[in-house]
């Protein structure tokens, strides 16, 4: 029978909502157990949060000072050890999960399934390739543990239940490498809603024209309580920091409302927003490919239309 270990993602002592999404993917396998593994320096608040996620059987914690920052080389041997006895090990398909999961898979000597969209059966999954232009069905060998990353945009976050799962400290006897060291993390502005979990996102592209002009995007986002995103071109041009990039090689998101402003709609961008509820496009070029997938399209100059839009709100 299936027993699933979900590796939790957290930052600054807070559980990331991607963990609850990975839990709902785990639940779709209908396993006997879903355990959440937390590796941190101080685990308490994170463990309490994780214990409330619906469907979780047990929360396992490893508190070590070496785990204060998520270094894959340090985390992977611990996860590989903790994975003994589990049929599946799931990670969210965020930069955290993408960094660590393959390292764990290799230590276990198994392949990895990246970006799981649906569970067809306990060992059968669908996942995107070619920037989401094809969806493949993959079968993993039932004799081996399945290591997978869960495409967070495909799964709702499991709710918090009324009961709390038990929390258990694990003592893993593993020697940890010292060849990799954390220096610092420069985090973006966190006052706005988080791009990956926001219900509304306003994104700007190269059409916005400059870093200064991007204020118009921030203002609109703040007015409607949205997170801010961007195309790769806008990030490359230095209008906004890298963590705002949406797309094949940036963040894959599924907000209820996505507004693409001054974005042409390259396939690499579209793959990041395909699961959005409603897509709005504002572009001065009526032929822009973004209009092929937009639910609501408006042709015109963004510098004229956005002020009008704010007025109409």
């Amino acid at each position: 029978m299936s027993k699933i270990l979900v590796v939790a993602e957290h930052l600054d002592g807070k559980l990331n909502s991607s963990t609850a999404r990975a839990v709902s993917a785990a639940a779709a396998v209908k396993p006997d157990n879903i355990d959440v593994l937390i590796l941190a320096d101080s685990v308490d608040t994170i463990a309490t949060d994780a214990s409330k996620i619906e469907g979780v059987s047990k929360v396992l914690t490893v508190a070590r000072s070496e785990n204060s920052h998520p270094l894959a080389a340090v985390l992977a041997p611990q996860i590989a050890k903790a994975a003994a006895g589990y049929s599946h090990v799931f990670f969210p398909s965020t930069t955290f999960g993408k960094d660590v999961a393959p390292r764990v898979a290799a230590l276990l000597g198994v392949a990895q399934v990246s970006d799981v969209m649906t569970m067809e059966a306990a060992h059968t999954f669908t996942r995107p390739i070619y920037a989401g232009n094809a969806i493949i069905t993959v079968e993993a060998h039932p004799d081996h543990a399945v290591v997978a990353t869960i495409r967070t945009a495909s799964w709702p976050a499991a709710g918090s239940g009324s009961q709390s799962a038990t929390i258990e400290a694990l003592s893993l006897d593993v020697a940890l490498p010292t060849h990799t060291r954390f220096i610092k993390l420069r985090q973006g502005n966190s006052d706005r809603p988080d791009l990956q979990s926001a219900g509304k996102v306003v994104s700007g592209g190269r059409g916005v024209g400059s870093k200064e002009n991007f204020d118009i995007i921030y203002k609109l986002a703040d007015k409607i309580g949205a997170a801010v995103g961007a195309s790769r071109a806008a990030v490359d041009a230095g209008y906004v920091p890298n963590e705002l990039q949406v797309g094949q090689t940036g963040k894959i998101i599924a907000p209820e409302l996505y507004m693409a402003i001054g974005i042409s709609g390259a396939i690499q961008h579209l793959t990041g927003i395909k699961d959005a509820g409603t897509i709005v496009a504002i572009n001065k070029d009526a032929e822009a490919p973004i209009f092929e997938i937009a639910d609501l399209g408006l042709v015109g100059d963004l510098f004229k239309l956005i002020p009008e839009l704010e007025q109409a709100l």
Binding site: D99, Q112, T124, A134, V138, P241, E243, K251, L296, L313
Partner: protein, 248 residues
């Protein structure tokens, strides 16, 4: 120091991939093939490190069918000193690719291995991390900036939260993100020069790597289509439509 660079050939990023109607694969006949964009970035970074005097030799590695040589010549024309072609008719999965790289590492003893963060065909994003695990060495994935000094790499990584800086003792594996550099263009004289650069061909079977795949792809499907929406005439109409949907 030697630098080993992953140089995979993939369907060009501008091609709109079509799934075959019978679900047996995607159409690749007559489709333009190019270097994986992240691998061009990996090669560019290696060349810059050589130009700075940090490395002496840059080796591009391709694992693929017999006709991969023309692609590897492009890597040589861009500036790599030599190429290694691991010949296999079948596409390899990331774990196998990582095992192949490990074999080459044992032979070449590089100080640094630079791979792309993901191949844009399988979008797996695994090989570099798997290699680092098998090699028991540091990994610095999604690199946006790399500095090498005093036997270590200081790497700025593009992560969801922002920019993370880590330090990794060499030898190490680095995987590239889009903003690490802008790859140079190949110049005509360099294409001529590349013709005399060596390409080592090794049969995958001769490397003794465990190459059985754990994952079987059983079906290919086109993604769900979003239906075309409506055009509104002005901002007021857009706001009204969004309000009606309960989104504002």
């Amino acid at each position: 120091m030697k630098i080993l660079v992953g140089y995979k050939r993939v369907v060009d990023y501008n091609v709109r991939i079509q799934v075959k109607p019978d679900g047996s694969g995607v159409v690749t006949d007559g489709v333009k093939l190019s270097a994986n964009p992240f691998d061009d970035i990996a090669l560019e970074e290696a060349l810059r490190l050589r130009e700075k005097g940090v490395a002496e030799e840059v080796i591009v590695v391709g694992i693929g069918p017999a006709d991969l040589t023309a692609h590897l010549r492009n890597g040589l024309a861009m500036g790599a000193n030599r190429a290694i072609h691991v010949v296999t008719a079948e596409a390899v999965q990331p774990l196998t690719a990582a095992r192949v790289f490990l074999k080459l590492i044992e032979k070449e003893q590089p100080g640094l291995v630079i791979l792309g963060k993901q191949a844009i065909d399988d979008d797996a994003n695994q090989t570099g991390q798997m290699l680092a695990a098998l090699w028991d060495r540091p990994q610095a994935t999604f690199a946006g900036k790399v500095e090498i000094a005093d036997g270590k790499a200081t790497v700025t990584r593009e992560v969801d939260a922002g920019l993370e800086v880590i330090e990794a003792e060499l030898p190490a594996v680095i995987t590239t993100d889009l903003r690490l550099n802008e790859p140079r263009f190949i110049k005509l004289p360099d294409i001529m020069k590349a013709k005399s650069k060596p390409i080592d061909s090794i049969e995958l079977a001769s490397l003794n790597v465990e190459a059985h795949d754990h994952l079987k792809t059983t079906h290919y499907a086109a993604p769900a289509k979003r239906s075309k929406g409506v055009m509104v005439k002005d901002a007021a109409e857009l706001v009204a439509a969004l309000k009606q949907k309960g989104l504002l």
